[in-house]
């Protein structure tokens, strides 16, 4: 059991990190708490299903092109959502929260209308299992973990090295001064939202295929709670923090699942409880950037 906790915990945490960085990124740059993140996660999974599903659906693409198209479409939708609904009210935290939750519900209803409430099985990316230290791990879990780490590294390099990444850091530090330096803030935030949405879509495809393999219209809620538990735990806007937060949450969850009787009822709850207790001790998370005080 001890090995199971160690190995499965690592794989779960690694994929959870993927879920959280998108959420953290858009908060860090644009200071938007994007409650539609879970809905974009769901949108990715559903688009993947739509592009690969058998005949009643128009296209039967291979796995790789389906993933690419699904991710690109989700990114464009995310950017459009930012431009049309979030940007005009970005100054107002409460209105942003309400509007993004509204968008999540709208996406949920659209999925319900298009795909009905039945569970849709997603085709596996890879088949088979591997045995690591006597613990059986499915190949799709390993793939999810590996791609998660790869994306994480890419994002880190992107933010640290590329010019746009530097601009993102500048906007995150001080929006007004970045504007004075000639950064087009609105377009940059739109781009960030696109990146965040595409990471959400990848997470949707990888996490869904490696765990339940089922898409249904209410699947956006749990990932949303998980991602905000992780992100808050690590500190909003801190990418390193969300990786560490993901490991804390992932391990706590696995430990609860294996040691507490009936613990599977408590999975999502444990993450939130851990988040709450950490916040009571450190009000800005473990690595949170300083919350801007008014004037």
């Amino acid at each position: 059991m001890f090995e199971e906790i160690i190995i499965l915990g690592a794989f779960t945490s690694g994929t959870l990190a993927l879920l959280a960085i998108g959420f953290s990124l858009i908060y860090g740059v644009a200071e938007v708490v994007n409650m539609a993140h879970g809905a974009l996660f769901m949108l990715g999974a559903y688009l993947y299903f739509f592009f690969t599903a058998p005949p009643p659906y128009p296209l039967q693409l291979d796995v790789i092109p389906a993933i690419i198209i699904a991710v690109v479409v989700t990114a464009i939708i995310g950017a459009i959502i930012y431009r049309l609904t979030i940007d005009p009210i970005i100054e107002d935290l409460v209105a942003t929260l309400v509007v993004t939750v509204g968008i999540a519900i709208i996406i949920q209803q659209l999925m319900l209308i298009q795909f009905s409430a039945t569970f849709r099985g997603l085709p596996n990316l890879v088949e088979g299992n591997q045995v690591i230290l006597g613990v059986t791990v499915s190949n799709s879990k390993i793939l999810a973990f590996a791609s998660s780490m790869l994306i994480f590294a890419c994002l880190y390099a992107f933010i640290a090295k590329i010019k746009i990444g530097t601009a993102m850091r500048a906007v995150a530090q001080d929006r007004e001064v970045a504007m004075l330096m000639g950064v087009n803030c609105e377009r940059l935030c739109m781009l960030t939202m696109g990146i965040s949405a595409s990471i959400a879509a990848i997470a949707g495809i990888l996490i869904t295929t490696s765990t339940t393999g089922i898409a249904q219209p209410l699947m956006w809620q749990t990932p949303l709670y998980m991602s905000f538990a992780i992100v808050i735990l690590g500190g909003l806007g801190s990418i390193k923090g969300s990786l560490i937060g993901a490991f804390i949450v992932g391990y706590t969850e696995i430990i609860f699942k294996y040691t507490v009787p009936g613990g599977s009822y408590l999975t999502g709850i444990v993450a939130l409880a851990v988040m709450t207790s950490v916040l009571l001790i450190r009000p800005k998370g473990l690595f949170g950037k300083r919350v801007e005080m008014e004037d």
Partner: protein
Amino acid sequence: MVTTYLRRFYTSFATHIIDVPTRLLAFLLSLLLIAVPVAKLPINILLILTIANLMAIFAASWDLLVGRTGQISLGHALFFGIGGYTTALLNVKVGWPVWATISAGVLLAFVAAVGVGYLTLRVKGPYLALVSMALPIILSGIILYFKDVTGGERGIGGLSYLFPQVTYSDKSLAEYYFTLILLLASAIILYKVANSHTGIVLVSILDDEVASKACGINVTNYKVMALAISGIFAGLAGSIFAHILRAISLQMLAVDLSFMAVIMTIFGGLGTIYGGIAGAFIIQLLDKYVLIDVIAVRTEWRLLIYIAIIIILIMKWPRGVARFVTDQINDLSEEREIEERGPHIWKKYKKKKK
């Protein structure tokens, strides 16, 4: 003797209500609500209005907390749900009478509010929003875990009627008037609190916490007090809600319900107690009556259309519909109206405009 009193009453009524256009409007609207049952409405509309009354109390209590102190809480369903679950458990499992269960529900909601207030004292901004949103989810997880006592997903049914002695045909009417009186009373209390000395102190905390501390204000006490008052009214609405539907479920702790309070208040106008009340009535009628009975929309499309309308209206009038109406009546100039009503949500807005 009597005439003097009557005259004095009339004078104060005329100066305080008739001469102030917005108050006159509020007075006429409450008269309208009192007169509604005369129209012999079908029973389901009366039920919708009864629920709208409770939702209005719920939204107004959220407004006192967020519009005044700026502690953005997205988990107000916690108090609603605690009220409802306490009431249901005591009523069904222990067999307490209605009045005792409602008082117990309100008391427990109050205790929970004070507890939450002290726990989340240091947490601010978006962190507070997300933590408060997590609390009802945690509670519903606990309720699911102990499903032998709490009924789990199916909830608890078979609560007693709010007025066991009233005959069946008059029940909905009695419940309507009871909730309406409660709504008017709570609206007046909340409005008075929001505009009293305490309310001003709360706004000062919202504007600048450090400065109010420097002025000798005990920020901790005031913050917890705002949460406690707001929790009492939310718990009251929850307890009565449980007795009117005579069943409860996890829906009472759902994130949707917390967001209903937020949506109704923002829609009506944050920081004005009347905004949440107006928003509650408009949204309840739009959701439960207009989109079902007037324009029959399919179920999947109903939620979609309703949310889309709300998003568009919030983006069009970020300061609220009710506030827009009162500003039209009062004919305030743009500058002054922003100056007058401080909360920082509009302070940023002002900064952008200049």
